[in-house]
């Protein structure tokens, strides 16, 4: 796995240093590799695969009032084309008249193809503790998995796609709430961490590529695949902001911004996350 092998040597070095210095001294700099040994031990056995399978079944299953499958859903590369589609999302969809990320596109297809009520389809996008993965989590895992190896190429051709990028970028720097946090507070410097957690510098291509290409991800602490919109919304929660709405302009704008920053990186999702 690319993201891990790239980190192996500095990680071993860091662990050696720690081992020598009587236990628990952790160097202040360049220690985003503290967990490299831990991650290395997972190898290629990411439980996300189990959820990808559920997503594949769900994609093919006739559901909803129209008893139709999602197999004719157009994810941007034509009806039914799944391979490589995630690497080019979000994008502008003429039929919907707006820029959509994978999750809002899936809701659109559930409504149009399967006849679900829109509010119902988007009512509970993320599973709760102790619950099975949600439909959107399973479908996202499956669809993102089918872009493995495809370079990220989030389009900036349509004016609405460029506007989404600008909105996302501007929001990235917005400081608000009682703690004055913006996305940039934690994600605009390289080599930093929060507690022991490495913080990707999403304003720099190298980190942005690594981050974008590994979402959706299997979240070890939650035992399920979490989606890119979940990632945005949960950051907003920790920023002490109100709830970021599912499928909102800001959510899609941020994902567009990050996707454009990650241009060219081969997709490697679902990743393995804390």
């Amino acid at each position: 796995m690319k993201k891990m092998s790239g980190m192996r040597w500095p990680a071993l070095l860091a662990l050696t240093i720690m081992g020598c210095a009587s236990g628990v001294v952790v160097a202040q700099q360049s220690d985003d590799d503290i967990f490299a040994e831990y991650r290395e031990m997972f190898g290629d056995d990411n439980p996300a695969e189990l959820i990808e399978w559920q997503g594949e079944d769900l994609w093919k299953e006739a559901r909803g009032p129209k008893q139709a499958s999602l197999e004719q859903c157009d994810l941007g590369l034509g009806p039914g084309v799944v391979d490589g589609a995630y690497a080019q999302l979000p994008r502008f969809f003429a039929d919907a008249g707006r820029v959509m990320d994978l999750e809002s596109r899936l809701v659109y297809c559930m409504v149009e193809l399967q006849g679900f009520d829109k509010a119902e389809a988007a009512a509970k996008p993320y599973s709760g503790r102790g619950e099975e993965p949600s439909a959107l989590e399973a479908l996202s895992a499956f669809i993102a998995g089918r872009s493995k190896g495809t370079p990220v190429a989030v389009p900036q051709d349509h004016p609405a796609e460029r506007a989404a990028f600008e909105l996302g970028k501007q929001f990235f720097y917005l400081r608000a709430g009682p703690h004055d946090f913006s996305c940039a507070t934690c994600h605009s410097q390289s080599g930093k961490r929060i507690r022991l957690q490495a913080l990707p510098n999403l304003t720099a291509s190298e980190d942005a590529r690594k981050a974008f290409s590994t979402w959706p991800g299997y979240r070890i602490s939650q035992g399920t695949v979490r989606t890119m919109e979940w990632r945005m919304g949960d950051c907003a929660r920790q920023q002490r902001l109100p709830e970021m709405k599912f499928g909102s302009d800001v959510a899609i704008g941020l994902i567009t911004y990050l996707g454009v920053m990650a241009e060219g990186e081969p997709m490697d999702a679902p990743g393995l996350k804390r």
Partner: protein, 210 residues
């Protein structure tokens, strides 16, 4: 819902992005401001203790909503820093130190003011998210400087205590677009909690100074 210091002081100006007049992004910000604000408002909804008012920005938040290299300078920066200084409230009884053990808990706790948090529980300060403090706690962040041996290295002179209290109350006094939350000014920590954190930083018995 807590009332933040700036709501009283900055008043109506807080709610208007049109008043941003900082540095090079002013033109951009003004051109985009109305639709940007609308897009942001329509993208969020109130939940738990996190109301929509949290999206209203004060003068500092507006001026600092830019990449670091575009932070306000000169008079614009000075105005924000002076305003921050003017709002610092020092302990009424002149006593800066509480209980370092309580301070340690505050430094370790990251909960508080998220919509997922119980508003009845005291807020944490989450110091360890960004700072090294006690040398035996390895799970510390690096966004802020190390505070290891804080009191031992700096002593407890009046100016040092005032400086540190001010840092905790409103870090923007010293650094116009500081990343650090305004723990006193924004009502994140109570006066007693701030005293406890002060004790954790300065007390010779505190693990920070071992």
């Amino acid at each position: 819902m807590r009332t933040f210091g700036w709501v009283k002081c900055v008043g109506a100006a807080v709610l208007s992005t049109a008043l941003v007049s900082c540095a090079s992004t002013a033109a951009d910000a003004q051109a985009q401001a109305p639709s940007f604000d609308d897009a942001v408002k329509s993208s969020f909804k109130e939940r738990g203790q996190a109301g929509m008012d949290r999206l209203n920005r004060n003068a500092m938040q507006l001026a600092c909503s830019v990449p670091a290299d575009q932070s306000p300078t000169g008079d614009a920066a000075k105005a924000i820093q002076e305003q921050a200084q003017a709002r610092v409230v020092f302990p009424a009884d002149g006593e800066y130190f509480g209980d370092w053990k309580a301070g340690e808990k505050i430094a370790q706790t990251g909960k508080g003011m998220q919509y997922s948090d119980d508003p009845a529980e005291p807020n944490g300060g989450n110091c360890y998210a960004c700072h090294q403090m006690a040398p035996d706690e390895i799970a510390y962040g690096t966004l802020g400087p190390s505070l290891k041996g804080y009191g031992k290295l700096r002593g407890t002179s009046d100016p040092m205590l005032q400086y540190t209290w001010t840092r905790l109350w409103n870090s923007h006094v010293y650094n116009v677009c500081s990343h650090m939350p305004r723990f006193g000014d924004a009502g994140i920590l109570t006066e007693q909690q701030l005293k406890d954190v002060m004790a954790y930083l300065f007390d010779p018995k505190s693990p920070v100074n071992q």
